[in-house]
Symmetry: C2
Subunit: 605 residues, 2 copies
Amino acid sequence: MELGGYANKIAHIDLTKGKVEYTPIPEDWARKYIGGRGLGVKYVFENGPQVDPLSPDNILCFMNGPLTGTEANMSGRTAFVTKSPLTGTILDSHHGGWSGARLRWAGFDGLIFKGKAHKPVYVYVEDGKVEIRDASAFWGKGVHETVKIFKEMFGEEDLSVIAIGPAGEKLAKFANWVNEMDRASGRGGTGCVGGSKHLKAIVIKAKKKIPKAKNREAWKPAQKRALATIMDENNATSPRKGGLSVYGTNVLTNISNNMGGFPTNNAQLADFGAKAEFISGEYVKEHILVDDPTCHACPVACKKEVEITEGPFKGLRMESVEYEPAWSLGAMCGNDNIAAVAKIIDMCNDYGLDAIEMGDVLAMYFEAKQRGYTNGGWHLRWGDYMYMVEIVDKIGKREGIGDILAEGTERAAKHFGHPEIAMTVKGMGIPAYDPRGYKGMGLGYATSNRGACHLRGYTPASELGLIPRKTDPLAWEGKGELLMDLQNLKAFIDSMDLCTFSSFAEGAEEYAMQYSAMVDVPFTADDVMKTGERIYNLERYYNNLNGFREGSDTLPERFLKEPSQAPGSTGHICELDKMLEEYYKVRGWVNGVVPEAKLKELEII
Amino acid sequence: MELGGYANKIAHIDLTKGKVEYTPIPEDWARKYIGGRGLGVKYVFENGPQVDPLSPDNILCFMNGPLTGTEANMSGRTAFVTKSPLTGTILDSHHGGWSGARLRWAGFDGLIFKGKAHKPVYVYVEDGKVEIRDASAFWGKGVHETVKIFKEMFGEEDLSVIAIGPAGEKLAKFANWVNEMDRASGRGGTGCVGGSKHLKAIVIKAKKKIPKAKNREAWKPAQKRALATIMDENNATSPRKGGLSVYGTNVLTNISNNMGGFPTNNAQLADFGAKAEFISGEYVKEHILVDDPTCHACPVACKKEVEITEGPFKGLRMESVEYEPAWSLGAMCGNDNIAAVAKIIDMCNDYGLDAIEMGDVLAMYFEAKQRGYTNGGWHLRWGDYMYMVEIVDKIGKREGIGDILAEGTERAAKHFGHPEIAMTVKGMGIPAYDPRGYKGMGLGYATSNRGACHLRGYTPASELGLIPRKTDPLAWEGKGELLMDLQNLKAFIDSMDLCTFSSFAEGAEEYAMQYSAMVDVPFTADDVMKTGERIYNLERYYNNLNGFREGSDTLPERFLKEPSQAPGSTGHICELDKMLEEYYKVRGWVNGVVPEAKLKELEII
C-alpha cells in the first residue's frame, strides 16, 4: 500500500514476548487522524479504553506526524500517546528536539510498545529496524547519565536518546520521558507507563534524510507561505520577531503577572507582585543566558540555555528555563530565585519528572504546611528553595514524604485529607495561567482531555492578542466557541506534528496547504478544523467511556469562589459555568458527553 | 594596699616589648568606677582619648567587676573595653560564660593589652601569672578550631579560651572576641583591636575558687534578697519565671513584631508580618531546641542551644539563637529561615564577627541592590539566605564584596554612595528595636556612647512593662529622664559586672547591698545612680573629646521621616528632637556636650 508523505511504517514492540512486528498505517486511520497525536489516540482507543494504565495491556505510542522531520518549519515535534496513570484519561504529550525527526529518518512513523519486559530494556532504532536490548546496567541511572553513556556507546552524531529516569522506574505518577537531556514529553505520566513496562530508553541512530512531499510542486509555495507568516516583519507578535525568540516562553512571566493571571503561593494569590521580575525571561537574559538552542527546522530558537555563576547552584548549565517551570517552581511556590528554578528543572529532567506538576505538588505541600495540615518539614516555607531542592530529591527517589508527593498533587492532597488545596483538574496540576486573569484558560483547563492543560486550546493566544481573533482576557462571553476552535486546530497541529508556536503566525489555511502537499490529497482549511474536531471528540469519547461525564469538567473551587486580589484582575473569579454552557452548546455535547449522533457525524464510529 | 572584694591585681601586657607588669587598682579609681566597664573606661580615658584605635598605642582592657565570678547571681559577665575602630568612640562590650569568673579565680581583675606583637601571640593566664606565647600556628584559624586545639593542649576542664577569628586578624571593623565557642563580646570591633595587636587568644586555666565578700555578714542577706527578686513566683516577668528562661531572649521576636517595633528589610518596614513567627523563640523551642546552657551562677539559663535536623544546614548544633541575631539575620534581611539564622550566627562566631552588625550590613547591601545602587549579586534578594551565607563567608575572608562590607554598614553604604541606607548611629548598626515602635529606644540609640545600642539604657524594660516603672512605647514624653536613669543604672551594673537581665528583677537597692557587702564600704541606692552617672558622663566626655558634639546624637533619617506601616505602630515616626531636648536637660548637658561644671560635680575632673 502506498501512503504518500508517510514513512508508512509502524513498529509494534511486544515487550513481554520480546518481539517486534512492522505494519503500515491503515489508510483510513491516516486520513482521519493524520498522525502524531490523532493517530496515537486512535491506536490507544482501539486498544480498549478500559485498560489499566500501568498494566502490560496499556500501549505506549511514540508517534510522529507526517510533517515531523520534514522541511516544514518547526517540524521537530513528536508525541507519546497512551492512557495516563496520573489522570486515567487519554494522554498525548509532545517534545521537540531531533528525536522525532530521527525516528522518521530511520524509517518510521511510530513505535508502539505493549506488554512488560521481564527485565529492563531499551530499544535501538536504525535503518528501519528496532531491536530490544538489555538495559539492566542503566536501571537506576538518571536521564543525564543514561544519555551520556549511550552517546559514548553509539557516538554523539545522528543520535537521539529518549529515556526515563529513576522516577519513572519507581512509577512516580508524573514521571515523563526526557529527550536529549532537557526536552520532556512532560505531562501526564508517560514516563510512569515506560517504567511499568521496564522500558528505560529509546535510542535512535539516523542520518539526516529529509523526506520529500508527495506533491513537490504544491509543497514549495506552501512551505514558503508558512515561513513568510513566521518571519513576518510587520507582525510584532510573530514567533520570529516577537519576545518568544528573544526571551523564550518566559517572556510571558511579567505579562501574566501584570494581568493578574499568574497563580502564586498555590493560587492563593493571582500575581507574584514585584518578585515576578526576578524569574522573568528578561531577567534571565540580563543575568544568566548563554545560548539559544533550537529544534529541528526552527527559525525561532525559543530555548534559552542558562549558566549559573553565583550562589549555591554555581556551575549549573542547562538547556532552558521555560515560562511554565519558572512559574511552577517560582511564583507557585513563592520562590523568586531563578537559579533555584533552573536547578530544580534540571533535577526534574534528570529524575524524569514533570516540572509543572512538581511545582503544583510542592505548592500544595507548602499550603498544607501553612494551614497546619501536615506536621512534616518544620522549616518548610513559601519560597524556601533549598527545601524545595531537598523535597524534589526525595520525590525523585520516592523517599519519605517524597513517596507520597510522587503520587501527584491530587492524590497527595487527599493523603493530607484536604483535596481542596490541590490545584488540579482530573488529577493533573494546573499550568501557569490563573483562570481569574485568563478566563478562557479556565474553560480550557476544565475541558481539556488530559486534565488541567494550557495546550489543548491556547486561548491566551487570543487573550494576549497574538492572533487576529483577539478577546478580552477578563470577559467570559464567546470563550466557549473560541476555545472549541482553538482545541480543534491544535488537535490537528499536534497530529501533523508541528510546534504550537507556529500557530501564532500560521492558520488553518497554511496548515491545510502543507498537509495537502505533503500527502498529496486535497485538503482545505475546513478539513483542518473538521479533522481536529474529530480527534478532539474521539478523545472526549475515550474519556466518557472511562467515566468522565457530567460534572467532570470543573476547576479547583479557589478559582470559582475566591476573587483575585491582584491589580490586573482584582475582584474577578472564573465564570466557568457560563462558559461551559456556551462551550457544550457549540460542541454539541450533552453535559460533557459526546452523543452518538456527533460520533457518527464525525465518522468516529 | 588592701582593696576588699577585688583580686586587686591588673596585668599590664606590653605586646610590643613582650613584657607583663602587675599592679593593684588605684583605690580612688575602684571606688569611683567600680570595675568592668567603668574601670576599663577609666583606664582607656587615662590612656588618652585621641589615640588611633588600631595603633599600638590604643589599649584593650579585658576587665572584670568586683562581683564577676562571685556567688552573686548572674555574675558570669566580663568586659572588653577599648577605643572602637568601628565608631571612634569609647567602647565596652561584655560577654557571659565562665571566662570572667576564671580570670578572677586565676587572681586577676583585668588584663590590659598595649602595643603590637611582632608575630601572632596568645596569653596564657594561670595562678596569678600571665605568659605571652607564640600563636603563629593559630593565625588564620577559626574561633572554633582555635578553641578546640587549646582544649586539646590544656585539657577542657577549668579552661576558658577567648579568641579572635580570621575576621579580626584581617581587621574587619566589626570583628569581635568570642568566648568558649559561642559567646561574643559582640559589638564595636573589640576583635579588630585584638587583630591590630596580633593578639589571637586569651587562655585562662583556673579552678573554681569563689571569692568571698569582705563583709560576709552583710553578704548573705544581700545575695538572698537579690535571688528572691529573680526567682519571684509572683512576678510574671521575673527572669526565672518569665519567657526569658523558657524561650531565651528570642521570646521578644513576636512581641516586638506585634508592636511594630521590629525593623524589617533594612527598616523599610517596622514589622515582619506573619513571618516573624518562624524566627521566634517559640518556634525555636517547638522545632530545634535541644538544651538550655547557662553562664556562671545563673538560675535563668537564657541560652538556647539548637540542633538543625533538616535542610541545607542539617547537622549544625550551636549554642544559642538570640533575639538580636534572629532579628538581624532574619527580619532585617527579610529571611524567615531560622536554620539559616543559626548557621550564620555560627559562622559569625567562627569568623569572629558581630552578628548584629552583620545583619545590618547585609540588609544595607540588599537595599543597595533593591534600589540599583550596586550591580553586584544578580541573584541577591531579600531573604535569600543561601546568598547571605555566601556573603558572610566573603566578609569573614575579606574577599571581593566582602572586603568592602567588612568595613561595617556605614562605611560600606558610603562606598555605594548612599549613606542614607546605613541603619547606623555613630558608625554602628542598630539592634532589634524599631524606634518608631519603641520611642525610648530611639533616644537610646541616638545618645548611646558606643553608637546604636540597646544595652546602654534598656528602655524596653519599661516600655514592655518588665520593671515597675512602666511607660507607653509609643509615647515620647518622659523618655529623656527614663533613659538617663536606665543608662546610669546600667553603667553601674556593667561595672560590677552583672548580667543585664538581673535588672528585670533587681533594682539599685539590691545592687547597692551586694556591692557594699562585697567591698565593705557603705553604699546606697543613690550611690549606685551617682556612680553610674559618673561613668556615663566620663564616656560622654571621652566622646566629646573625640569630636562627638552637637548634632552627633541622631538617628537614620528613615526613623525620623518615614512613618511606620506596621499595625502595632502605624503612622508613628520617632520624635527624637523632642526627647533629646528633654534628655539633655535632665542630663545637664549642653547640646550633647558635658560642661565642665558637670564633670567637677561628678568628680570626673
